[in-house]
Amino acid sequence: MNFIMSLVAVLALVLTAFLGIEAAGLRTFFSMAVPYVAFTLFIAGTVYRVLAWASSPVPFRIPTTAGQQKTFPWIKRNRFDNPANKKEVLGRMILEVLLFRSLFRNTKAEIEKGPKLYYQWEKWLWVGGLALHYSFLVILLRHLRFFTEPVPFFVQALGGMDSFLQVGLPGIYISDSVFMLAVIYLLVRRLIIPTVRYISLPGDYFPLILMLAIGVTGILTRYFTRVDLLKVKQLALGLAKFQSSAPEQVGTIFYIHLLLVCTLIAYFPFSKLMHAGGIFLSPTRNLPNDSRIRRHVNPWDYPVEVQTYAEYEERFREKMIEAGLPVAKEIAAGGPAVYPLTKK
């Protein structure tokens, strides 16, 4: 059901762009208005999200530790799984962001006949995730060729390396193939593993189906229906320069691709995709485990008025003596007072 809902949502988007261009002819709307609105939502939404996160105090160290803490010098410790200072946290964060290290630890628990509980090495999710993220990055950077003039050297070089297999013309990009395989794998994984399917929500399926549709339409524009790249680039540069570049006839498939991409970036800050920003703000990852090395004072402790025992006795001494309670210092008596519970 969750899957069907997401699929219907993506198909509705495709149909919107198709009818908007073919029937209503809203070219300016889909090529100018929609991208600007989507981009504004993307930037403003992301900033809002990050600021909202940053306004939550994190007074205490709550890192998830998965290795030996720093202790006696003769006990071997784990710097990345139990970082003790900011430098080690930086190392942990870099490995987490670039290599998805905590996903690498993924295991699969299964009860088999016996009954025995088995834990298995499960790396496919990690491999699929890495493949998806890095191929997406390459695809994103490659698209800069439509937004820059002259095209920077690294974008050209990236395109050259990506198509170096020289299969067909226009040459097949390796990143396109990897992206499609990874998205399909991650989607199929959600659908066929019962436990994963059970916890999958529309918010899990929708981005995957959306990315699948973006990949399909992108591949169609490049390899099958083909669009005039000069017009596409003119349109993209016009967007970047805030010049309305009277969008000419570009194939409808291009507008479908564009609307899907705009949906993705507008949806980004309000969905699970925001883990891109959230990973940097995860207190369970970005804090050193120095709870016992440094003293952490709760910054929002309410300022309670406290009274020491000496002050208390000073106030109630007469009444205490009347009631026969022991006091540390007799009235007008000389000599040092001995208070209980006070530190020297």
């Binding site: 900033v47 940053a54 306004s55 060729r145 820059t148 095209v151 050259g160 083909r226 005039d228 540069l237």
Partner: protein
């Protein structure tokens, strides 16, 4: 609203906005006119009916397909004759047919190829074929 760890948050957000708006600020003050592939070679000027193998729009989006099909036909099947939709017969050859008219590689092929950011090696015609010598 109090922001904790403000210097990291602000630095991160500034970096994010800077990267995300790269297409906007990198284009400020840059003119980027549309390329004009030159069709003024002597061979084209002598033609009575200026017509390529396919129509102009088909060539614009599909010339690479046509070249790929020609290459496969010539290299693998040994065929050299191409009959266009209007019945005209062409020899399937980059150097003898295409370049007979479009002898100006730098001002014809490269004009658009560099505009859409193809690396110089990507139309890999010239790893086998010899690029024409141009008088300019």
């Amino acid at each position: 609203m109090k922001i904790y760890d403000g210097k990291f948050i602000i630095a991160g957000l500034v970096a994010f906005i800077g990267l995300a708006t790269f297409p906007i600020w990198s284009n400020i003050g840059k003119a980027s006119p549309l390329p004009e592939p030159k069709l003024d070679t002597p061979a084209i000027q002598q033609m009575e009916q200026k017509q390529c193998v396919l129509t102009r729009d088909e060539m614009r989006t599909g010339h690479m397909r046509l070249l790929d099909e020609w290459r496969i036909e010539v290299v693998r099947n040994g065929g050299r004759i191409y009959t266009a939709t209007d019945g005209k017969i062409y020899e399937m050859s980059l150097q003898n047919e295409c370049m007979r008219c479009h002898s100006n590689k730098t001002r014809f092929c490269d004009a658009c190829h560099s505009y859409v950011g193809l690396p110089n090696s990507t139309p890999y015609c010239w790893t086998c074929h010899i690029a024409p010598r141009e008088k300019d």
